[in-house]
């Protein structure tokens, strides 16, 4: 029976159809994602695992992916493990599904990357912030003080969503900077909450390729 269109579009299948199209823009995106997923990410995961870096970001055209070492992973060197920043990235690193699946994850990646763009580590000079994971009421961790060292993935506070607490986490290794939201303040999804300052010894990592550029960064083990 006829349905209002939003209801239909809400189904995942519809979104997939849109993203697997022949639209050249989308095709370019797919090519970029394929490159990221099949060539760059595996190499970078290996690199991350054997380096002392906490996080690496890689770009392919307009696309970016960020790899982040799991919080509290002590066996850094040679562990061979590296967490891909986001649930869908894992799928790309391990193999590609049928076109429809790839389309959906592409859309998810795009959304995720778009979200991280503000805090992206294009250079070590840009401000880096911990953002709100949800719409709700913000409570910073009680013991949080300016200048405190934190690791990527550390919990900096919570956002209370109807009684369910969602963690606000440090996006990178660094030091707690200024607070951008008060305790008890209503915050929206993606709102900037706490600045993270990079340690002095932050450094960059070069990855070969003309329009491939990986900047990354962050603290030693």
């Amino acid at each position: 029976m006829p349905q209002d269109r939003n209801a239909v579009a809400a189904a995942p299948g519809r979104a997939a159809a849109g993203a697997t199209g022949l639209d050249p823009r989308i095709e370019r995106d797919h090519a970029a994602i394929s490159n990221l997923a099949d060539d760059l990410l595996p190499a970078l995961i290996a690199k991350l695992a054997t380096s002392g870096l906490g996080e690496i970001e890689v770009r392919e055209g307009a696309w970016k992916a960020r790899l982040r070492r799991p919080a509290g992973a002590d066996d850094r060197k040679g562990s061979g493990r590296g967490s891909v920043g986001g649930h869908s990235g894992q799928g790309h690193a391990t193999g590609r599904g049928p076109a429809a699946t790839a389309g959906r994850t592409a859309a998810e990646d795009r959304e995720r990357l778009a979200r991280e763009e503000d805090g992206a580590l294009e250079t070590a000079n840009l401000p880096i912030v911990a953002i709100s994971p949800a719409v709700g009421v913000f409570q910073p961790r009680k013991d949080l003080v300016t200048g405190m060292r934190v690791r990527a993935g550390d919990r900096l506070g919570t956002v209370d969503v109807l009684g369910v607490r969602e963690d606000v986490v440090a996006p990178v290794d660094g030091m707690i900077g200024s607070s951008l939201a008060e305790a008890g303040e209503a915050v929206e999804y993606g709102q900037e909450l706490i600045r993270i300052e990079l340690p002095e010894n932050a450094r960059s990592l070069e990855v070969n390729g003309a329009d491939r550029e990986a900047a990354a960064v962050l603290g030693e083990a």
Partner: protein, 454 residues
């Protein structure tokens, strides 16, 4: 009345609800996903809040995100628009549990009308004809008897099936005899259940719906009908009111029966009862939509009623404030759904930037849209760019105004179905008011697309 309403939807309907709130003097907060940060509703709103990422499951379909947004912004009601969570009884229930009002039917009412089959039985008991069918078929003799009673053609349907699977069209008793056994084994193999039943097959049918409103005090009105027969793969493309498929007497009768059935079955707030009209003019109830419909503007143009405002008032516990005698529908209105789809390329959805946009104008022309020059159409949601609605004193006038407005409408940067609309308007079947729901799918859209490129 509410003090502040959270608008839990996107696109043109978010803007439409914002307008109703402003007209009523009620505050409004637009809830938007990250992909809709630049949407017109979010920009025009006095207050807007980002509820989640582009993925609707984590934004427009996330009850916690929406309710949390309503709570932290101090809203006392949530308007769900259409699609998404607009008919979700569970959502309506949780909204109420948080001390907020769901703008629509109550959770109990949504629950009562949640099952299509249950709703058909319920409204049949209140005087609406449903598509004739048999009980479960026992044997061949009984099947033949039932088919004879219903009248050929009939469809054999597996009881456990769904989505058209395992259905067969039967035109003669002989076909029924030869198909029954096969259908049984197919149903057994496909669904683990070989129960079958028969339903009358309505070939060239029209889709006509009746708009009703019921307040919390047992007052009910109808606001006439809408004909939504111009469809492609069950998606409405053009809607008009009044339906050319009904005589005025038949319309009066159907409207009266629909509003009575809605009231007596305990329905509440705005609702749309959908019917299929067969070649002989008989109307069969198929389902009820418990929300504001995409195509509501044409009813507003003919009746002068602000239906979204009415919906909000009913949810706030106010009486209708009018009787059936106050509802006067005049003239003829047509709505064109302007979609970012490429008719020449299997209606592939388009996304990207709107480079230029010019809305048509003139008497009886209304444009509901969230696009503007520079707006980036996200690829995550539906392809509805807007709705062009026209009104004129009669149908021929409305068609003429529709064509003039479509010629004027400019959406640059994306492929749209604007030319397809013009081609349909110029088609004799449409001009004669004889479009059936299967027309576009049966003849294919190609002739219309070709005509549109003239």
């Amino acid at each position: 009345m509410f003090s502040k309403i959270l608008i839990a939807n996107r696109g043109e309907i978010a803007l439409r609800i914002l307008r109703a709130c402003r007209t009523l003097g009620v505050g409004a907060v637009v809830a938007y996903s990250e992909a809709d940060r630049d949407s017109l509703a979010a920009q025009l709103a006095d207050e807007a809040i980002c509820i989640g990422p582009a993925d609707a499951r984590r934004s427009y379909l996330s009850a916690p995100a929406l309710i949390s947004a309503a709570v932290v912004t101090g809203c006392d009601a949530i308007h769900p628009g259409y699609g998404f969570l607009s008919e979700d009884a569970g959502f309506a229930d949780v909204v109420r549990a948080h001390g907020l009002t769901f703008i629509g039917p109550s959770a109990e009412v949504l629950e009562r009308f949640a099952s299509k089959e249950g709703t058909r039985r319920l409204l049949e008991a209140h005087g609406l004809r449903t598509i004739p069918g048999s009980g479960m078929l026992r044997d061949e003799a009984q099947a033949l008897e039932e088919a004879e009673r219903i009248g050929y053609p009939v469809i054999i349907k597996p009881s456990a099936g769904g989505g058209g699977k395992g259905m067969r069209l039967i035109k003669t008793p002989h076909e029924l005899e030869s198909t029954l056994k096969v259908s049984r084994s197919e149903a057994k193999a496909g669904f683990g259940d070989d129960s079958l039943y028969l339903e009358k097959y309505l070939d060239d049918n029209r889709h006509v719906e009746i708009q009703v409103a019921v307040d919390q005090f047992g007052h009910a009105i109808h606001m006439g009908d809408r004909d939504c027969s111009v469809q492609r793969r069950h998606q409405k493309i053009i809607e008009e009111t009044p339906s050319p498929a009904l005589t005025d007497a038949a319309r009066q009768d159907l409207c009266a029966r629909a509003v009575r059935a809605a009231l007596e079955s305990g329905y509440e707030n705005l609702g749309t009862l959908e019917f299929l009209i067969d070649a002989s003019g008989d109307a069969y109830f198929i389902e009820i939509n418990c929300r504001i419909q995409v195509e509501h503007p044409i009813t507003e143009m003919c009746t002068g009623i602000d239906m979204v405002a009415l919906q909000i008032k009913i949810a706030a516990g106010e009486p209708l404030g009018m009787t059936q005698a106050d509802v006067v529908s005049t003239g003829h209105a047509i709505e064109f759904r302007i979609l970012a789809e490429d008719p020449g390329n299997d209606f592939r959805p388009q996304s990207g930037q709107v480079l230029g946009y010019l809305a048509p104008g003139g008497p009886g022309v209304r444009m509901d849209t969230h696009i503007y020059p520079g707006y980036e159409v996200p690829s995550y949601y539906d392809s509805l760019l807007g709705k062009l609605s026209v009104w004129a004193p009669d149908r021929a006038g409305a068609i003429a105004r529709g064509d003039a407005a479509l010629r004027e409408l400019l959406v640059d940067g994306l492929t749209t179905n604007i030319d397809l609309h013009r081609a349909i308007l110029a088609n004799e079947v449409f001009i004669d008011g004889k479009v059936t729901t299967n027309l576009l799918d049966r003849v294919g859209s190609a002739p219309f697309v070709a005509a549109g490129n003239r």
